[in-house]
């Protein structure tokens, strides 16, 4: 088991800033399509988790003497909003004690419309939160029922309202490709979140991941994703949102800095069960199970369960794939400065077969067109060694 988290290695003394991710491993109930780790709340569990989180930070500090400053922050899960105000007070306290947050930076929190509250909003307001990402999923009750969500569309609208009223930047997550979903229903949801004042919209195609209930027994009548996605691209751009990544649309300047770090190869440090960290050349993951996470940190060990060194063709193709997810694409000069001109050539050769209406080529680099983004998975496959 590696002794320390890779985001910290080599860099710790250089005191470079990282992006911080906190995984809150609790949900009120498990959605049948979700593959992220979470567990049910039970008395004492949250306290144990918070204690272990604090221990993890202390262990990192002990291993590296100085922790890097924090650039962007993202508190996700799970469902961060299932923690009550007192737990949040404790969480904020732990983070403030553990890290130095560079001022003026983005801090995002994921919120579930079913559990978001005015108390939490005001706590966040007092702290550093700038951005709230609401898991709307759909603004149609029949979709929400099918998805097993704990809230209805009215509740989502209410949640978005209190977020914007508090002055946060609002991001809304929507799912497409749902059973029985048509353009009309999809449009209703898109229109609804725009009307609620979201300045950022993430659209995710319903994925049937193995290991989830729907992955094992897919629901009937799944809608074809392509036309729905195409509609989102068209409609959101008409409404002033710019697509800056496969699944992400934002009004001017409102793109999520934290997420862009993932795609452009920045360093990030993940805390909590199942959280991932990466320093650009080494990636690692914490143990997935909460109990295990608590007991390992309790023993005074870092709870890392997996790590891999990224190098050679794997690193190059992975970076190319991630870059092509974004509207900036692969920037030739930056890419060859990082990986060498030979690597850039290799990537460009692999992209040769792709027709020009899918892949735009310019002197500065290559990027996917709108149509290209729709078939991204097939293009990424071609980039593998």
């Amino acid at each position: 088991m590696p002794s320390s988290s890779p985001a910290m290695k080599k860099r710790s003394n250089a005191k470079r800033a990282v992006s911080l991710y906190i995984h809150i491993p609790f949900c009120e109930s498990k959605c049948p399509y979700c593959s992220f780790y979470s567990t049910a709340m039970a008395p004492g569990k949250v306290e144990n988790f918070l204690g272990a989180l604090e221990a993890e930070i202390d262990l990192l500090k002990a291993a590296h003497k100085v922790l890097p400053d924090v650039r962007t922050t993202y508190i996700g899960g799970g469902t961060p909003t299932v923690l009550g105000p007192s737990h949040w007070v404790r969480l904020i306290d732990i983070l403030e004690k553990g890290f130095r947050f560079l001022p003026g930076n983005e801090v995002s929190v994921e919120a579930n419309p079913g559990s978001i509250s005015r108390e939490l909003i005001s706590l966040w307001k007092e702290w550093r939160v700038t951005r709230v990402s609401v898991g709307v999923q759909s603004l149609r009750d029949e979709d929400l029922f099918l998805l097993g969500r704990s809230h209805d569309a009215g509740r989502s609208a209410e949640a978005m309202k209190i977020v914007t009223e508090a002055g946060f930047s609002l991001s809304a997550d929507l799912l497409f490709g749902l059973p029985g979903q048509d353009i009309r229903g999809w449009h209703e949801s898109l229109k609804g979140v725009i009307g609620a004042g979201a300045d950022h919209v993430s659209v995710y195609q319903l994925a049937l991941d193995p290991g989830t209930p729907w992955g094992d027994r897919p629901p009937a009548g799944l809608a074809e994703g392509y036309p729905l996605y195409r509609w989102a691209q068209y409609y959101l751009e008409k409404k002033g949102y710019r697509q800056y990544e496969i699944a992400s649309f934002a009004k001017a300047g409102k793109w999520c800095r934290h997420n862009v770090v993932y795609w452009l190869g920045g360093d990030f440090l993940g805390l909590g069960p199942s959280a991932w960290s990466c320093n650009g050349f080494e990636r690692s993951r914490n143990v997935i199970d909460l109990d295990e996470y608590c007991s390992i940190t309790g023993r005074g060990e870092l709870p890392v369960c997996f790590s891999e060194i990224l190098e050679g063709d794997v690193l190059v193709s992975e970076r190319a794939i991630l870059a092509l997810r974004t509207r900036w694409g692969i920037r030739s000069r930056k890419f060859s400065a990082l990986f060498g001109a030979g690597s850039l050539d290799t990537i460009m050769q692999r992209l040769e077969e792709i027709p020009s209406h899918l892949l735009k080529r310019s002197r500065g680099g290559v990027y996917l067109s709108r149509e290209g983004m729709r078939v991204g998975n097939s293009i990424w496959q071609m980039l593998l060694p």
């Binding site: 490709g177 995710y204 994925a207 994703g225 199942s274 991630l322 998975n377 496959q381 593998l384």
Partner: protein, 605 residues
């Protein structure tokens, strides 16, 4: 040999498939205690697992039974089992030539079927004494009188003292054995004449080399003799002769009328061909026994290994199979789509299926077969006749003066309510009506002539489905006839794909082209650009369809932790696409080719 020639009886059993031939053979072996109860198992004479599973007989195993008749005398009864299928008509004819009599088995519930008649006539042609037996009288639906009437009317045999039996329950077995003694004439032949023995089958054995199944007509053969095969002109020293009981038991000598085996350091079955005559090298016979011919394959297809690097294994397996079965023909062939493989020729579809299954089972070779085709003859502008074994042998249409294709004459026994449907099926397959008569008010005999090519596609399945399995059919070859045939190319993105092209009648080209394009459209993976699929005769495109570019994909989210997982998923998908074949700028996975060729198979089942 302990009995004189007049107490030898050589006979075979002929029957329609499923009328109980193998079970009856089992009972005869039991009744004569040729096989002890301890060693008995079902279908004991069928040596291949495949035969037992399919309930059909492919290879013939002769067996010698000793039987004491009610007259108190000891007899030797040689039972020569025969394959009932038309693919093996020649082999059947050689087995019949080794006999003096035949038991004609008819199912008491089913009555006379197509193969009953075909095989009975074949036996009559060979001058055999035929003993009709009505089997399965234990069945609740048995109608022995009706079956007897059909035998009299359709086959023309006297059924006034027809034998009734139930092989399953062991009823009537003794009566059958007595009838064999009484009715089948003993063999005739001269001990003192030069040796003449018929090879009615030969098999390859890993330890012993080729084992010839022979029937001595004149003269004698002993261990150590120098012998010559008259057609192949090969000579060997006899290492061992013997009889089947049913295991091999060596004897000193085989004389006139006797049936047994011969081993003599013979390397391949090609050297000991079915129908050839064995004679003495020192004192050869003046002439061979009549009826020998070299069998020629009539149905061809390509065999390709699924794993491309298994080509050498496939070649070895085919060579070994050919040592066993000289009727199989093969030569190397290259396909741009499927790589290296072999063009293989067979006596018929069943023969092809068996070869394919044996390659898989006995030699462990996983292979894919291209669509079968018949042999075509064409005359070019210079007037010379050329034989084509594969669609790609077809020259350009402008070079062909005349194309000929093999025809067959089929005889079907059809319940009267299905007559119309069967006739429609035959018409659809370019059949020419020859005749029809009613055997009974409920059943008709229909005779058509139709191209073999139409027959091998899926005629049996269509027949089965339009008659709910109540019709039986048999066929014989009827020679080559001129036909308006064309080669249809299948093009993907403008590039012809050899594995998919086929030959068919011009009137069917459109439908079959459409069918092929439709099938292809289903299986080719969506590409990033539009792909055209075409069927064309020469330069003339007859079917065109475009496959819309890919537009269905899961655009999953991808954040910090997803990256590793995503990459592994992509790598896995990519691995599956490794064996891609480039056709123009289109990548097709091998699976697509296999799916295309296999979907045809499913229709056949």
């Amino acid at each position: 040999m302990s009995v004189p020639m007049e107490r030898i009886r050589n006979f075979c059993i002929i029957a329609h498939v499923d009328h109980g031939k193998s079970t009856l053979a089992d009972r005869l072996l039991e009744a004569t205690t040729t096989v002890s109860a301890r060693d008995m198992r079902e279908q004991i004479l069928d040596t291949l697992d495949l035969e037992r599973e399919r309930g059909i007989t492919i290879k013939l195993v002769p067996v010698q039974m000793k039987y004491r008749g009610i007259d108190g005398l000891d007899y030797v009864l040689n039972l020569i089992d025969t394959p009932g299928h038309v693919d093996f008509t020649y082999e059947v004819s050689r087995s019949l030539a080794a006999c003096e009599g035949a038991l004609l088995i008819v199912d008491a519930a089913q009555g006379v079927e197509a193969q009953t008649v075909a095989n009975a006539y074949l036996a009559v042609d060979h001058g055999l004494e035929i003993i009709p037996v009505i089997n399965k009288i234990d069945l609740p639906s048995a109608q022995p009188e009706q079956a007897a009437r059909e035998i009299e009317e359709v086959v023309g045999l006297d059924c006034s003292d027809v034998l009734l039996a139930s092989a399953k329950e062991g009823k009537g077995i003794k009566e059958i054995l007595e009838a064999v003694i009484k009715k089948v004439p003993p063999p005739s032949g001269e001990r003192d004449m030069p040796l003449q023995a018929l090879i009615f089958d030969s098999i390859y054995n890993n330890y012993r080399g080729v084992i010839c199944y022979i029937r001595v007509t004149n003269g004698t053969v002993r261990t150590g003799d120098m012998i010559t095969f008259m057609a192949t002109r090969r000579s060997f020293q006899v290492e061992e002769i013997g009889v089947f009981c049913p295991d091999m038991r060596p004897v000193d000598e085989l004389g006139p009328g006797e049936v047994g085996y011969l081993i003599g350091n013979i390397k391949t079955v090609e050297e000991a061909r079915v129908g050839d005559t064995v004679t003495s090298s020192r004192n050869p016979a003046i002439a061979p026994l009549p009826g020998y011919r070299k069998v020629k394959p009539v149905v061809f297809c390509g065999f390709y290994p699924i794993e491309r690097d298994e080509y050498p294994q496939l070649r070895d397996a085919l060579e070994k199979l050919q040592m066993n079965d000289s009727a199989i023909f093969f030569e190397p062939e290259t396909s741009t789509a499927l790589g290296f493989g072999f063009r293989c020729g067979f006596l018929g579809l069943l023969h092809m299926e068996i070869a394919r299954e044996r390659l898989n089972r006995e030699f462990g070779v996983d292979l894919v077969a291209t669509a079968p085709n018949v042999v075509y003859h064409f005359r070019d502008m210079s007037g010379s006749l050329i034989e084509a074994h594969r669609p790609s042998d077809f020259p350009e249409a402008s070079m062909i003066e005349e194309v000929l294709e093999p025809f067959i004459k089929i005889t079907g026994f059809v319940p009267s309510e299905y007559v119309g449907k069967v006739m429609q099926l035959c018409q659809d397959r370019r059949g020419v009506f020859v005749g029809m008569d009613y055997i009974t008010p409920q059943r008709a005999r229909i005779v058509y002539e139709l191209p073999l090519a139409e027959f091998i596609i899926d005629f049996h399945d269509r027949l089965k489905s339009v008659t709910r399995g109540f019709a039986s059919i048999d066929y014989e070859h009827a020679g080559f006839r001129p036909s308006n045939l064309v080669k249809v190319d299948i093009l993907i993105g403008g590039e012809p794909v050899d594995a998919f092209c086929f030959v068919c009648h011009v009137d069917r080209a459109f439908n079959r082209g459409q069918e092929a394009v439709r099938k292809l459209k289903e299986i080719i993976p969506r590409q990033l650009f539009e792909v055209s699929l075409q069927a064309a005769i020469g330069k003339r495109v007859i079917v065109r369809q475009n496959v819309k570019p890919l537009r269905k994909d899961v655009l999953a989210k991808c954040y910090g932790g997803d990256i590793t997982r995503k990459r592994k998923l992509l790598e896995k998908q990519k691995e599956g696409k490794k064996r891609m074949k480039q056709i123009g700028r289109i990548s097709l996975p091998q699976e697509a080719f296999l799916a295309f060729l296999k979907s045809g198979d499913e229709e056949e089942e």
